[in-house]
Amino acid sequence: MGTIGLTHYLVVAAILFCSGMFVMATKRNAIGILIGVELVLNSTNINFVAFDRYLGPGQLDGQIMALFVIVLAAAEAALAVAICMNFYRNLSTIDVDHGTELRG
């Protein structure tokens, strides 16, 4: 085995991305879907940090981006949970497939 390089990070991120997408597409529980989103966001972070480390020495763009994404993920999670609670209060479930009143 050679040293661990950019490709390895990218592959890990890609796998994470795919699992995140898979989770988003299959989970019925709203929180589950959000966890999928978090996975994708984390894959993004891995990408950013890895690219920054390997491709952009001397500049911090990727690192900062990753930091922002973390904050963003937190904000999104907070809001998402609030909206899920609202959903639960009205429909007594957080299974998203119960919400099919708006359609057509």
Partner: protein
């Protein structure tokens, strides 16, 4: 000429009534209510004041600079060129502006009281004033516009206002029908008009007045090709078609008498003084096109002469005051067309100018009578109102005398000029003009006699009363105009009107005279002044005398010996029936056009319901079917959305992938 001043004035003349109308429409009902008239009066007054300024500037212009084309801005770009918003200001424009805004102002002031019952504004008071403001705006736009496109827009806009105002009492079936009729008949004319403008664009590649007229007069297109006379004639006849519709000439005159269903101020303003003269204005404005085609000029003259005589004969037998006036308007418009057709455009415009005063006066007086009679205007139901409505009576008599061509009132001078020129063109035209003059004097006097002389009769339960000062003041102003406006064109007083207008027509209508009559003189009247007293004044004396005789005859027949008319009517029953049924033209149209159309309509409805609807149903079946599928896709399930989206992305990615490989 100060172009900047004119530009500013032009813009403000348009904006002031428009803003008035918008404010009246927007704030009328919630805020202003019974005071709505003020805002429109203010707008139109500003427009009038500025028209005076424009007149002053145009009058003060140096020789040879009588017309300015003022571009405002580029409006729209189409395939090959720009359409501009531009003004053309010349003496003709300024005369029209003065007439339009002046009469409008008086009529709107008059409407303040007219549109009230027991001092309470009638329903739709705000709407009425908003529409009037809109009309003034449209008419000014029509007159100011510097190209055919703006002319057309103004033309349609005044038609729309006319439609809205004829149908003002929309809950009255007759008013709604009249509005519809006016609209449809005008459509027929406007169709030709639109085609004519299209043809102008196709022929000359531009719609700008000056450019088109220059090409017509030069006889070559911008590309250097000569213009076929046949093309010019076609254009002129198509334009004339529009003019016939708008100015109620044969055979499209049928809408105007019915249009009297609108409120009287509307009849006075739109259907007597201003809008109906748009056709005259248009022909005068397009003099270059019309004079380039002798055929078209002959057609104009023939239509004018026929209409003048024909409408006058109908007016003889009508009893509804407003209808008499309507036919009289048609007849007078016929005079104007006759004037145009015999190359006397300045006389035609002069007649337009004087006619605006006395005909608006007559209509407003009729409105005053109607107001007093509780909405009844048919002279069979009242009579001898001379004591009851003293002021209205006086003004009405002034207007009537002016219309009848009583010597030394405005109508006398302007009508005489046209007859004079008609005789110069062809004795037949002159004779028709003279005959019409006699008829005019007769039916006018008859109308006055029926309404104001004889024993006093008022309809049951009507408390007749003289109108208030809001209504009488405009009448007074108009009657001053009806008496004195004619002197502007009289040669003894310097012929100011004709000298002012002269340069506009110098190269078009005027050319004819410089060839036909005395060399060096652009105006036949001026030319005639050199040819001796009798040749010059003979006709004047003759027509004046005939008018007086006709008036006396009418007085004799209808006041002193009221049995005579009935006897005559029974002596020639067919003729009488022909006249009083307006030559059965409405019936003929009904049989020849309306019924077949209605039949076609029924067939079409059947086709539409069973065949076309089926086709439409079939055509929409595809989208509807697709919609059904799509609605399935939008199933409300977020998971479904996510999967669809991801599939979508994958498909897009694949498309890119295969596009690249």
């Amino acid at each position: 000429m100060s172009v900047e001043t004119l530009k500013l004035c032009g813009i403000l003349i348009l904006l002031a009534p428009l803003i008035g109308a918008i404010l009246a429409g927007a704030l009328g009902r919630p805020v202003l209510r019974g005071n709505t008239h003020w805002i429109v009066i203010a707008g139109v007054a500003v427009a009038f004041a500025l028209s005076v300024v424009v007149f002053g500037v145009v009058r003060g212009a140096a020789d040879g600079a009588h017309a300015v084309q003022i571009p405002l801005y580029d409006w729209f770009t189409s395939g090959s060129g720009w359409f501009k918003v531009e003004f053309l200001i010349d003496p003709l424009t300024s005369i029209m502006l003065l007439t339009v805004t002046g009469v409008s102002l008086l009529v709107i002031i008059y409407s303040r009281d007219y549109m009230r019952e027991h001092d309470k504004p009638v329903r739709g008071y705000e709407r009425f004033f908003a529409f009037l403001g809109l009309f003034v705006f449209s008419m000014c736009a029509l007159v100011l516009g510097g190209n055919f496109l703006l002319l057309y827009l103004g033309w349609e806009a005044v038609g729309l206002c006319s439609y809205l105002l004829i149908g003002f009492y929309y809950d009255r079936p007759s008013a709604a029908a009249a509005a519809k009729k006016a609209f449809l008949v005008n459509r027929v004319g406007d169709f030709g008009f639109g085609l004519g403008i299209l043809l102008i664009y196709l022929t000359f590649g531009t719609l700008e007045y000056q450019a088109v007229f220059d090409m017509v007069q030069g006889g070559v297109l911008a590309s250097g090709e000569p213009i076929a006379t046949g093309r010019i004639t076609t254009i002129a006849l198509l334009l004339l078609c529009g003019a016939c519709g708008k100015s109620a000439q044969l055979p499209l005159h049928v809408w105007l008498p019915d249009a009297m269903e609108g409120p009287s101020p509307v009849s006075a303003l739109i259907h007597a003084a201003t809008m109906v003269t748009a056709g005259v204005y248009m022909v005068a404005r397009c003099g270059a096109i019309f004079t380039a085609s002798p055929i078209a000029m002959t057609v104009v003259a023939v239509i004018g002469a026929c209409t003048a005589l024909f409408a006058a004969t109908i007016a003889l037998t009508q009893t509804d005051l407003k209808r008499i006036l309507a036919y009289s308007t048609i007849s007078q418009l016929g005079y104007m067309f006759l004037g145009l057709g015999v190359y006397a455009a300045d006389s035609a415009v002069f007649h337009l100018f004087t006619h605006a005063f006395f005909k608006a006066l007559l209509f407003l007086c009729a409105g005053s009578v109607m107001h007093a009679m509780g909405g009844i205007i048919d002279a069979r139901y009242f009579g001898g109102l001379r004591k009851l409505l003293p002021w209205t009576f006086r003004f009405f008599v002034i207007g009537s005398l002016a219309l009848a061509g009583f010597p030394f009132l405005s109508g006398f001078f302007s009508k005489d000029e046209i007859i004079h020129h008609a005789f110069e063109a062809h004795w037949l035209f002159g004779l028709v003009g003279l005959a019409t003059a006699v008829l005019t004097a007769f039916y006018t006097a008859r109308m006055v006699c029926l309404a104001f002389f004889g024993p006093e009769r008022v309809p049951e339960g009507v408390h007749a009363h003289e109108s208030g000062k809001w209504m009488l003041a405009p009448l007074g102003v108009l009657s001053i105009g009806a008496i004195f406006a004619g002197y502007l064109g009289v040669e003894m007083f310097g012929q100011g009107f004709h000298n002012f207008l002269g340069p506009v027509f110098h190269d078009t209508f005027g050319v004819h005279y410089s060839v036909v009559s005395a060399p060096g003189a652009a105006h036949a009247v001026a030319a005639a002044a050199h040819t001796g007293f009798l040749a010059n004044y003979g006709l004047m004396i003759l027509s004046g005398g005939l008018a007086i005789v006709a008036i006396a005859a009418a007085y004799f027949m209808y006041v002193l010996q009221p049995w005579i008319p009935g006897t005559i009517a029974s002596a020639v029953p067919r003729l009488h029936r022909l006249f009083s049924n307006k030559y059965y033209i409405d019936e003929a149209y009904d049989a020849a056009v309306v019924r077949p159309l209605r039949m076609t309509g029924r067939v079409s409805v059947g086709l539409d319901n069973y065949f076309l609807d089926g086709l439409v149903w079939l055509a929409t079946a595809i989208p509807r079917g697709l919609a059904f599928v799509l609605r399935g896709l939008q199933g409300g399930l977020i998971q479904g959305y996510a999967v669809s989206m991801i599939i979508g992305i994958i498909i897009l990615a694949l498309v890119v992938f295969f596009a690249e490989r």
